[in-house]
């Protein structure tokens, strides 16, 4: 409609921001045009979050250096409401839905249609349905409680809400139309991400200026018109579409090349030196898991597989395929009991709860780091030993701090956790380092089987490479590893064996290296069988 290429809608000049002791931004310049998707890349700690906080008004005017102008006038935001008034809407990585309200209520939150001062529920439903339709989400029932939706769909509801806000959505409004999305696809399945991409293309053509933050470079290359890379709080440069090149972007981000990202796969076959043929570490037969929402439906259907010592077993599948449910049910963390037969080292095992699983040597690094992982106001040391504290206790009771600290320091060194000291609040670490603390928590339980559910979600390229190397090292030392990730490339690159899950069924089992990305996706999505 009104693609006005070239004219900057929003400009940031010389942005600087310091927290006590830390310089978050050291002079960032960039501009955002109407009708473009502008990707912002950078490692964790590069300053992306700070930049978003400034643009979204969370860091008020005066607290940072430099200036932000929208349509030629300088912005002096005192809070997010001011930014919203200027048409800047931020969709944060952490979802901000009211889980107890319905989808329609969430979409209309703060701007509820009313009649005679009373809520007009009918219009609210219609408006919400219209917004959802615009996003291609006709399958979401506006009357369902938002909390019952999977994470991926909740994200979409939040985008629907952002687009509905009058100053952002109204085509007649004088306000600018800026939509900032912070890692919008980190929780989405490939199909949902595709939907989102289509929507973003449409919004771009409607003249929106979209600032898109993502760790997934393939996505950025597909989607973006321009890429700005931040490194250590400074702009490392802006690339036009014809300059896009993965190696170049990665080296701009980290100062090293992409080849170093994935370690070479060690070939492991049963019967070789590293894996003698013995009973499998974990053997799952006909594992059936009922759905908590609908007892007649099964989340998992007749899942059977073995996991051997020293093996990395990758699980590929779309969101909702049952990957996380499989991981959680094996550790007794799923709300319902599964049926079937599980053996750990040949002995029957019935999942009960996480403590029971740990006793049998099963540890799960769960996908929801904030919700189910970290105790943010507790120290790195405490977070590291929550699952293994008994090992550092006299009589299972009295904590021996010296022993504990020794073990924690060991983890900090081997995992290269960047923390000033073991007593530092875990919540103040970067996402990648929090993840390492959690990996350390599970390693300290000395598991035989380590299940990693989205181990690299929301962490930067450098930390990813370290985690990949760690996974390989652990496997080579004889641990059995189940690797679940939405980043299919990492599963395909790292795994010795790969299961493709679709709708709770194992559709395919392949040896690592024999499955190409496109084929895996097509099996997972149901293109072929």
């Amino acid at each position: 409609m009104q693609r006005t290429d070239g004219t900057p809608l929003l400009t940031a000049q010389g942005l600087t921001m310091s927290y006590p002791g830390v310089k978050a931004l050291g002079g960032v310049d960039f501009d955002l045009r109407s009708g473009e998707i502008h990707a912002l890349c950078g490692e964790n700690g590069a300053g992306k979050s700070t930049l978003i906080k400034i643009l979204g008004g969370i860091i008020p005017h005066g607290a940072f250096g430099g200036k932000v102008t929208v349509q030629g006038t300088e912005c002096r935001f005192n809070g997010p409401a001011d930014a919203l008034q200027s048409g800047i809407r931020v969709i944060h990585q952490e979802l901000a839905l009211c889980e107890d309200l319905t989808v329609a209520e969430n979409v209309c939150l703060g701007e509820e249609p009313s009649r005679f001062g009373l809520l007009d529920r009918k219009r609210m439903r219609l408006e919400a349905a219209a917004q959802l339709e615009r996003l291609g989400l006709m399958d979401i029932n506006p009357d369902i409680r938002a909390g019952t939706l999977p994470v991926g769909l909740r994200q979409m509801v939040e985008i629907a809400r952002a687009l509905r806000h009058p100053s952002v959505s109204s085509k007649t409004s004088s306000g600018s139309k800026v939509l900032i999305l912070d890692e919008p696809t980190s929780a989405l399945s490939a199909r949902e991400a595709e939907r989102l991409e289509a929507t973003l293309h449409r919004l771009r053509n409607e003249g929106y200026a979209l600032l898109y933050i993502s760790h997934r470079l393939d996505e950025v290359f597909r989607l973006a018109d321009r890429i700005t890379v931040l490194r250590n709080g400074e702009s490392a440069g802006t690339l036009e579409r014809n300059e896009f090149n993965p190696d170049r972007v990665i080296s701009m981000m980290v100062g090293r090349t992409a080849d170093e990202l994935f370690p070479t796969r060690t070939v492991v076959t049963a019967g070789s030196d590293s894996i003698p043929i013995t009973v499998p570490l974990l053997s799952v037969r006909n594992w059936i898991l009922p759905s908590p929402q609908n007892p007649d439906k099964h989340v998992l259907e007749n899942i059977s597989f073995d996991l051997h010592a020293g093996e990395i077993l990758g699980i590929v599948g779309l969101m909702g395929a049952g990957r996380t449910e499989l991981a959680e049910s094996l550790c007794g963390l799923f709300p319902l009991q599964g049926r079937g037969e599980i053996k750990v080292e040949g002995k029957a095992y019935v999942p009960k709860d996480a403590g029971h699983a740990l006793k049998h040597g099963l540890a799960l690094l769960c996908e929801d780091r904030r919700g189910h992982g970290v105790m943010p106001d507790k120290s790195v040391a405490a977070n590291s030993t929550y699952a293994s504290l008994r090992d550092y206790c006299l009589g299972g009771w009295l904590i021996r701090r010296d022993k504990e600290l020794e073990a924690v320091n060991g983890q900090i060194n081997t995992l290269r956790i960047k923390t000033p000291n073991p007593h530092f609040n875990t919540g103040n670490l970067s996402g990648g380092n929090q993840q390492k603390v959690l990996i350390g928590r599970w390693l300290l339980t000395r598991p035989k089987i380590l299940i990693l559910d989205e181990p690299t979600r929301g962490i930067d390229v450098g930390a990813k490479a370290e985690i990949y190397r760690l996974i390989q090292k652990l496997a080579s030392e004889g641990m059995g590893i189940i690797l679940i990730s939405s980043e299919n490339e990492e599963v395909l690159q790292l795994s010795h064996r790969i299961l493709v899950l679709r709708n709770g069924h194992i559709m395919e089992e392949r040896t690592g290296g024999e499955l190409e990305l496109e084929e895996a996706m097509s099996i997972a999505a149901g293109g072929t069988t």
């Binding site: 189910h372 105790m375 929550y386 008994r390 009295l398 904590i399």
Partner: protein, 307 residues
Amino acid sequence: MKRALVLLIAIPLIWVLFHFLSGGAVLSTGNMVNLFKYMTVTGMLAAGMTVVIGAGYIDLSVGSLLGFLGAVTAWLLQSGWGLWAALLAGATLAIALGCLHGFLVAWLRVPAFIATLSGLLAYMGLKQYLANPVIPIRDTTLLSLGQGYVAGIPICVLALLIAATLCHFLATRTRPGRHAFALGSNREAARYAGIPIRGITVFAFALMGLMAFLAGLTATSQLMAGAADVGDYQEMYAIAACVLGGTSLRGGTGNVWMSLLGAVLMASILNGMEQMGVTSTVQKVILGLILTGAVAVDQAVGKGKNG
């Protein structure tokens, strides 16, 4: 510990301020001893409450419970039980009731607020039934807990220090204590980490029960009788002391010694007003304002996590 410094400076300042306002009545040895004797019951409850709140719960029953446990002990003594037998029975009952609270919360999933609110009502009724008429205490050993001195220090203050040391030790140096605060910090993460949530919940409430028993003995001994109104509103003072000491009602944080400083702060303000001749009705209003004001200042300064 910035807050510790603030409290350690504020408390003497309050003494000096009220000393002058009251015409020199506060900073006498006799009054200071009284002030600390007065805060022991709240302090004992606050020590246990720090762990309960740290685990993400609340215990509203402790005021009635301490009165009830004190009355039970007094009644057992009156009925001819020996002191140690009565104390053992009282402690067992206290821990059992604490475990009951924990059971209701952890197994039957009754919210702690409701379970202990029910306890508040139930123990209040039992206490009023049992202590009508008042049961005098004649056992000299028990009386010395509330009345006696060792080297010029009231025995009840020593008892408080021992109780607080025990709670602090349990909270920071033992597995159940560490896990209790993990529970309050992120309950789901605690479940995923294999922390035995139910056991830890029972632990926190049982410890609270034991502290209520000690507080009940102290209060009964100070009054020299098991009476119907012993312990009334003490649960509120204990929670207020925790909050003044920086404990977040959202759970996960809290320090026993800080809660004790909160209790001293509160007692100092009440004592100062008492010495000025402010009536007890006005004292309550002012205390309420101070509590809210302190938390509001805390939030405005920014670091606060009270709620």
